[in-house]
């Protein structure tokens, strides 16, 4: 038949087929999920990889705690260490030697028993220099671990990890580290199945295909079932997990919901039980119409502006203090971020495991103007134009514009904004050619040290050009040697006081984790690290499907 006849017929048939398929949405995920106890989880970006010793980022963290399990877990509400693969553990008096007793019924997903040797080998692999594990520093409290990871030391037996017997592991630290148990819940300390890795290539080789569906072997509450790129990642309840009786969920669908507005619409259309984030403008609406879906809880992280103290007019602490004092944080939190963030007056979030530093001063424009005059810029005259750098993001833009306006109104100073793409922003910041730059820091574990160890002179994460010997002595010598928790916190409090007096950073607010959670989702209490614990979660089969 002539070609000119076939082509139009083809087009018409394709059109009709797609129109026919348009008949209505059918049952949505939440209704089906509740019936079959399958959770639909909005997970943000598409996960990079499933190898715990390579990945960085929160989406990957959710998958790791579903597929693998470390020696020690965290209590879903209080984040206190609770037994994981290790049934129990003992700590020596001087707090440097930990001995872990591994459960005899702990098994890999392919049935192999879990042994102390598995952990020793996994930690060795995690620290291999060639692997380029960006979180290898989690293991640095262990004796000689840092030396091994930089290649100075090649014999892993000198690292403070010894297998006493099949189910007992002894770990020796450089010096007492009260928060060490929390580090064991980080995925770079998770065990990996040696045989599977070696089957697919060198332990130190990145991107071998051992994490593919069908070859992945883990020891967590769930096993990997399906992974369609940019579409969905599905895990199923593990038959070999030691605590399988408490696991109520039959499976979890992780949806890569990168676009926050699309994710919120999927939630409203009943396609998701849980969303990774909540669009700021929608929070008010949810707070009024269905508050039970809106879960907002404090999060172990601080949003602040980093000041480049090497810049002449910003090297004067009074100028920095004036800038900090002229920001009305209450108004910013209420009218700009609107998600219930908490104005921040200390760098370490208040009562982190009982530790609270003394607060810096709040909004005081008169004092700010006085300080500015004192520093040689009466009424803002002669104050050179200063630039706020931020990476392309809706939230940062709004905040920067608001603060720019506040400084202009209160201090009558000329502020410009510079919006740069993520990688360029990082490069500008690390190379130090910025004046003021947006920044944020999330704690790796619940302890003031993860916040205060940042401000080491020329430390990778410092970048302000500020440093102070007394501060470094307190944080890196006195605190680690402190005998009691109270003495340690006292040293940290003194150090944070110095930091807040010098003010190389302008604190803005303490983060809150915000999610939309369907009422049928149970067993998900919010906590400071926003850690979900999948094995305690379950879905109560309420009739309510999506909500309008």
């Amino acid at each position: 038949m002539k070609i000119t006849k076939i082509v139009p017929r083809l087009i018409w048939s394709a059109l009709i087929v797609s129109i026919l398929g348009a008949c209505g949405g059918g049952e949505n995920n939440v209704t089906i999920g509740n019936r079959e106890s399958v959770l639909h989880w909005g997970n943000g970006d598409e996960p990079q990889e499933l190898d715990p010793h390579i990945i960085t980022g929160v989406p990957e963290h959710h998958l790791m705690i579903a597929l693998l399990e470390g020696l020690v877990l965290k209590d879903p509400t209080t984040l206190e260490p609770i037994p994981g693969v290790a049934e129990s553990w003992t700590i020596s008096e001087d707090g440097t030697v930990y001995t872990f007793k591994i459960r005899d019924n702990a098994k890999w997903s392919n049935g192999d028993p879990l042994t102390a040797e598995d952990f020793r080998w996994s930690w060795e692999r995690s620290l291999l220099p060639a692997l380029g594990n960006q979180y290898s520093y989690m293991a640095f409290p262990i004796k000689n671990a840092q030396a091994f990871s930089t290649g100075e030391l090649t014999d892993f037996s000198q690292v403070g990890v010894k297998v006493l017997d099949k189910l007992t592991l002894e770990v020796t630290l450089n010096n007492p580290t009260p928060y060490f148990l929390q580090l064991l819940d980080h995925y770079s300390m998770f065990p990996v199945h040696r045989a599977t890795i070696e089957k697919h290539g060198e332990p130190g080789e990145r991107g071998t295909r051992w994490t593919r569906v069908g070859s992945f072997v883990g020891n967590g509450p769930f096993i990997l079932k399906q992974w369609d790129l940019n579409k969905v990642l599905i895990v199923e309840k593990s038959p070999t997990y030691w605590d399988r009786d408490t696991v109520k969920l039959n499976g979890i669908h992780f949806h890569p919901t990168q676009n926050i507005t699309t994710e919120e619409r999927m939630f409203r259309a009943g396609q998701l039980h849980y969303t990774n984030v909540v669009p700021p403008e929608k929070i008010l609406n949810y707070r009024e119409n269905n508050p039970e879906s809106l879960h907002v809880s404090p999060y172990l992280g601080t949003y602040f502006y980093r000041i480049n103290t090497r810049v002449k007019h910003l090297s004067d602490a009074r100028v920095r203090k004036a800038l900090a004092l002229s920001i009305d944080r209450k108004s910013l939190v209420k009218n700009v971020t609107k998600a219930g963030e908490i104005p921040a007056y200390t760098f370490t979030p208040p009562n982190t495991l009982g530790y609270t530093a003394n607060l810096s001063e709040s909004f005081n424009p008169e004092k700010a103007r006085a300080l500015l005059a004192e520093a040689g810029y009466p009424g803002g005259q002669g104050f050179p134009a200063t630039e706020i750098l931020y990476n392309t993001h809706e939230g940062h833009r709004k905040l920067a514009v608001a603060i720019q306006q506040m400084w202009k109104k209160e201090l009558n100073v000329e502020i410009t904004l510079l919006n740069q793409d993520w990688k360029v922003y990082l490069d500008t910041e690390t190379s130090g050619n910025y004046e003021i730059s947006r920044a944020g820091w999330i704690g790796d574990y619940v302890d003031p040290n993860t916040f205060l160890d940042l401000w080491l002179k020329d430390g990778g994460n410092n970048r302000t050009g500020w440093s102070n010997e007394e501060y470094e002595r307190l944080v890196f010598q006195e605190a680690p040697q402190a005998k009691t928790q109270e003495a340690r916190y006292e040293a940290f409090r003194k150090a944070e006081q110095i930091l807040l007096d010098e003010m190389p950073i302008i604190l803005v607010y303490t983060y809150v984790s915000k999610h939309l959670v369907h009422p049928s989702v149970k067993g998900l209490p919010g906590n400071l690290m926003d850690y979900p614990s999948y094995k305690n979660m379950y879905l109560s089969d309420e009739s309510q499907s999506g909500l309008q």
Binding site: T261, P279, E281, K282, L284, N285, S331, L332, K334, N335, V336, T392, E394, R397, K398, A400, V401, A402, Q404, Q405, K408, T416, L417, L418, N419, Q420, D421, V424
Partner: protein
């Protein structure tokens, strides 16, 4: 030998003069032109007639619906929308006209030369166009932003570099068919130089489709500007443009619809006016078409 330049304006003037006479018959085109002139005038005198400064915020107020104080309401940071739409007009119209002008200039000349010369030269020029089509535009913007910092000139460069490609292809197609016409052969037989022939005979006869395509390019340029500004290449906050206002308005479409409706409406009115004017101009410049 007197330079060809001398009698050039003689011919130029009369073409536009006659076009203006014919344009007046077309009511819709006049309406379109009127609306555009109104918008341009408003954009020019904005700083003097604007009720609020475009950056003055009232955080307490936040996003308020249109009221007596703020005729078009306020945005999430409490800034007056009417002011921002007017300031937005300044940027969008400037970008729209200048960037399209740049694309028009390069595209028409490049297309005319490629179409007229033909043969291997034409193939080479068209392959260059294919290459430029294929280069990753995103990387190109980030590079521009980084190497030259950011200013409006850069914005035009980035937009012009993308838009002139399609213009060149269209003009080339047009010139290929014009090349066969007898009046071009007549011009050659008079002994005119190729460049004079292109300038005086070829380009005026490609005006029809070029104008139609320009009226379609301006809107896409305005929206491209919004995308570039969002990435940090174009204008920096607190300034704004229609495209940016629309992209911010989309996020709060349900809660604060007026943040989207007013800039969207203004942009649409401008584009419709532009298109009616474009059609009118095309008919006016084509003496045959407007005869009946």
């Amino acid at each position: 030998m007197t330079s060809a330049k001398e009698f050039d304006d003689e011919q130029g003037v009369s073409l536009w003069q006659d076009a203006w006479v014919r344009l007046q018959h077309n009511r819709l085109a006049l309406l379109g032109m009127g609306v555009l002139i109104f918008m341009i005038v408003i954009a020019l005198i904005t700083p003097w007639i604007v009720p609020y400064s475009y950056e003055e915020q009232d955080l307490m107020l936040g996003a308020a619906p249109p009221s007596m104080a703020h005729w078009l309401g306020t945005d999430v940071l409490g800034r007056d929308m009417l002011t921002r739409v007017m300031y937005g007009g300044r940027v969008s119209l400037m970008v729209g006209f200048i960037a399209t002008g740049v694309a028009l200039l390069i595209g028409v000349v490049y297309g005319a030369v490629a179409g007229y010369v033909g043969g291997r030269v034409d193939a080479a020029m068209m392959r260059l166009v294919d290459i430029l089509y294929a280069l990753p535009f995103m990387i190109f913007i980030i590079l521009l932003m980084v190497l030259f910092g950011r200013n409006m000139l850069l914005l035009f460069l980035a937009i012009g570099a993308v838009e002139w490609l399609t213009m060149a292809r269209i003009v080339r197609g047009q010139v290929l068919s014009l090349r066969q016409q007898e009046f071009v052969e007549a011009a050659i037989s008079i002994g005119l130089s190729p460049w004079t022939i292109i300038r005086r005979h070829i380009i005026p006869n490609t005006l029809g489709p070029v104008i139609v395509y320009t009226t379609l390019t301006i809107p896409s340029v305005m929206l491209l500007e919004a995308f570039l500004s969002f990435l940090g290449l174009g204008i920096q906050p607190p300034q704004s443009s229609w495209g940016l206002l629309i992209s911010y308005g989309v996020e709060t479409m349900e809660e604060y619809p007026w943040l989207l409706i007013y800039p969207g409406l203004t942009l649409s009115i401008a584009l419709f006016a532009l298109n009616f004017l474009g059609d009118g101009l095309r008919d006016a410049l084509d003496p045959k078409a407007s005869k009946d």
